[in-house]
């Protein structure tokens, strides 16, 4: 299998290619072909796919200095953690000075909610921004077309290139200048609680969340983590979002949802998605939020302000 390179993408040569396939045989054929191209060109490869998919590939291509299989279990179902994970996974290979390729597939068949699927697709779109300034590497994203056509079209909007019949072509659905088209957030489930917060209200806000969480059996470490994440979001409202905000809490599908609304605008869509350094002045709050919550939804526009939803899986 050979792939052409239709156009240099991005100023640094980052390539992000969707690979629609049908069934395991096509998955293996496409992925192994991509790896073989890399081996022929003395390029390093990082494979980050669900375990069962990795097993299929391992049977064809053994792990070694050139091809490395990474454990995705801690991040695969947390879209907000994936960019930092890729930065970490390719860091060592990039430092070797060799061209790097990656194969990344999310566990789409294990997705827990429509919100999670949306955030996973948004992550795919954000990858183009995250690596726009470097380093140079080439990511292939296998995607099983057994899912509905609408979802495939949405995926195509997130990838500048598509691999079809062994050839790389430009994705006609991708527009580098267009904003990501989010679906509207679902309405809060009834009943929900509401709390207006401003400076000095952080302890009360945590109490509100604790009361709601404990009703649903969420205590101990998971509650402490939610408290921390909620405090970071509410602090942003108070400091940068007009001085106040509105908290809503409800449960849906075995998840506790904490929603924060304020008048601020979060300009950088990558905020909180890259790991902070020890010397970094700010930028830890949203990072912690992504690391501590099961799912984070962020919607922000200059006109409507910011809405952030934190999802925490409930026990039992």
């Amino acid at each position: 299998m050979t792939s052409s390179s239709p156009t240099p993408l991005g100023s640094n040569g980052y390539r992000h290619e969707l690979y629609p396939y049908s069934g395991s045989d096509e998955f293996v054929a496409g992925a192994v072909g991509f790896i073989q191209e890399a081996l022929d060109s003395d390029e390093a490869v990082v494979v980050a796919v669900p375990q069962e998919k990795a097993s299929l590939l391992r049977a064809q291509v053994r792990e070694g200095d050139t091809v490395r299989y990474v454990d995705t279990s801690r991040v695969a179902r947390h879209p907000g953690r994936l960019i930092a994970a890729w930065q970490e996974w390719i860091k060592e290979r990039v430092s070797e000075g060799r061209p790097v390729r990656g194969i990344g597939e999310s566990p789409w068949d294990q997705v827990r909610s429509a919100a999670e699927a949306t955030e996973l697709r948004y992550h795919e779109w954000l990858l183009n921004k995250a690596f726009a300034q470097g380093p140079a590497w080439w990511l292939l994203c296998p995607y099983d077309v057994a899912r509905d056509d609408a979802a495939l079209t949405q995926m195509a909007r997130c990838h500048p290139e598509i691999r079809r019949d062994g050839r790389t072509v430009l994705s006609e659905d991708y527009d580098a200048r267009a904003p990501y088209e989010f679906a509207a957030l679902t309405d809060p489930c009834d009943p929900y609680d509401e709390f207006l917060y401003t400076s000095g209200d952080l302890p009360a806000l945590r109490e509100k969340i604790a009361a709601c969480a404990e009703q649903h059996g969420l205590t101990g470490r998971r509650l402490r983590e939610l408290h921390l994440a909620a405090t970071e979001v509410a602090t942003n409202s108070i400091r940068h979002g007009g001085g106040h905000g509105v908290l809503r809490t409800w449960s849906e599908e075995r998840r506790l949802v904490c929603e924060f609304r304020d008048a601020g605008y979060l300009e950088d869509p990558l905020a909180g998605r890259t790991m902070p350094t020890a010397r970094q002045v700010g930028g830890r709050g949203l990072w912690l939020v992504h690391q501590l919550c099961d799912l984070v939804e962020i919607r922000s526009t200059p006109h409507d302000g910011t809405t952030i939803r934190l999802h925490t899986e409930l026990p039992g």
Binding site: R221, R224, L228, T231, A278, R279, W287, L292
Partner: protein, 260 residues
């Protein structure tokens, strides 16, 4: 073991207490503290009043140590008084400290150092120290910081600090409560003040309820503020340790040890 508490009145002050007494703008320090001073005779305690010398005739004038006329530090003076009390057979030393803002360039740093010294002094010697702050002299943010370094509190003004740092043993300090963005600056200032006098600060954190990113950054900045310093946090919960690591602070460049 010393534990923080709110006292209903100065009658409840006990051995080793370091009390923040917040007074209203019109309150007279001596009038509001008269019972504490008088109780010295009842319990066999030596009494010292630290503050400006009275401008008029006062029954308490012989007890007054005026900081402006002291040779050496306030801490050295009260240590001398405690040693004298011990030699003379008193049960303990009672210190009523009427704190007034100093004329220095950075009075907040000055009072913080003084209060931490007095906290250590009370814990180590068993002296009873009441620090009286008049609302006429201090604004609310300053008073909120002041209460952070007193384990005990009395007064009509409902100023309750989110966290407290107090002495619990010869080599250590205890942090209790919540260290979030509202208190991070004060927390950092306290740590920097402690580190200015000792290379390693031990903080017992078993009763810390909450630590946010701003509090952690204050901790990291304080640890790097001076060379060859170290902060050891003991009794941290797994969420604090996880958040510290996730925040990128668990590196050799940040001399902080987080222990369970």
């Amino acid at each position: 073991m010393r534990t923080p508490r709110v006292l209903p009145s100065l009658d409840e002050v006990d051995i080793g207490d370091h009390v923040c007494h917040l007074l209203g703008r019109s309150d007279d320090v001596i009038d509001r503290s008269r019972a504490f001073v008088a109780d010295g005779a009842l319990h066999g305690d030596k009494v010292v009043i630290v503050g400006p010398a009275p401008r008029t005739e006062s029954e308490f004038a012989p007890l007054v140590l005026d900081p402006a006329r002291l040779q050496g530090s306030l801490l050295a003076a009260v240590r001398r008084e405690a040693a004298t009390a011990d030699r003379e057979g008193f049960r303990s030393l009672r210190v009523l400290h009427h704190v007034v803002p100093g004329p220095g360039a950075d009075p907040s740093e000055e009072w913080l150092r003084s209060e931490l010294d007095l906290e250590e002094f009370a814990a180590d010697t068993g002296a009873m120290v009441v620090c009286a702050y008049s609302g006429a002299d201090w604004d609310l943010p300053a008073l909120q910081q002041i209460t952070c370094v007193h384990p005990h509190h009395v007064g009509s003004r409902p100023v309750s600090p989110a966290f407290r740092v107090y002495r619990t043993e010869q080599e250590g300090w205890t942090v209790t409560g919540t260290v979030d963005s509202d208190g991070a600056v004060a927390f950092g200032s306290i740590l920097c003040t402690l580190l200015a006098h000792t290379p390693t600060v031990r903080l017992r954190c078993q009763t810390v309820e909450f630590f946010d990113a701003a509090g952690m950054r204050a901790l990291a900045d304080a640890a790097r503020h001076l060379p060859d310093r170290k902060i050891v946090l003991e009794g941290t919960n797994e969420t604090v340790r996880l958040a510290w690591k996730l925040s990128g602070f668990a590196v050799p460049d940040v001399p902080v040890v987080m222990a369970p």
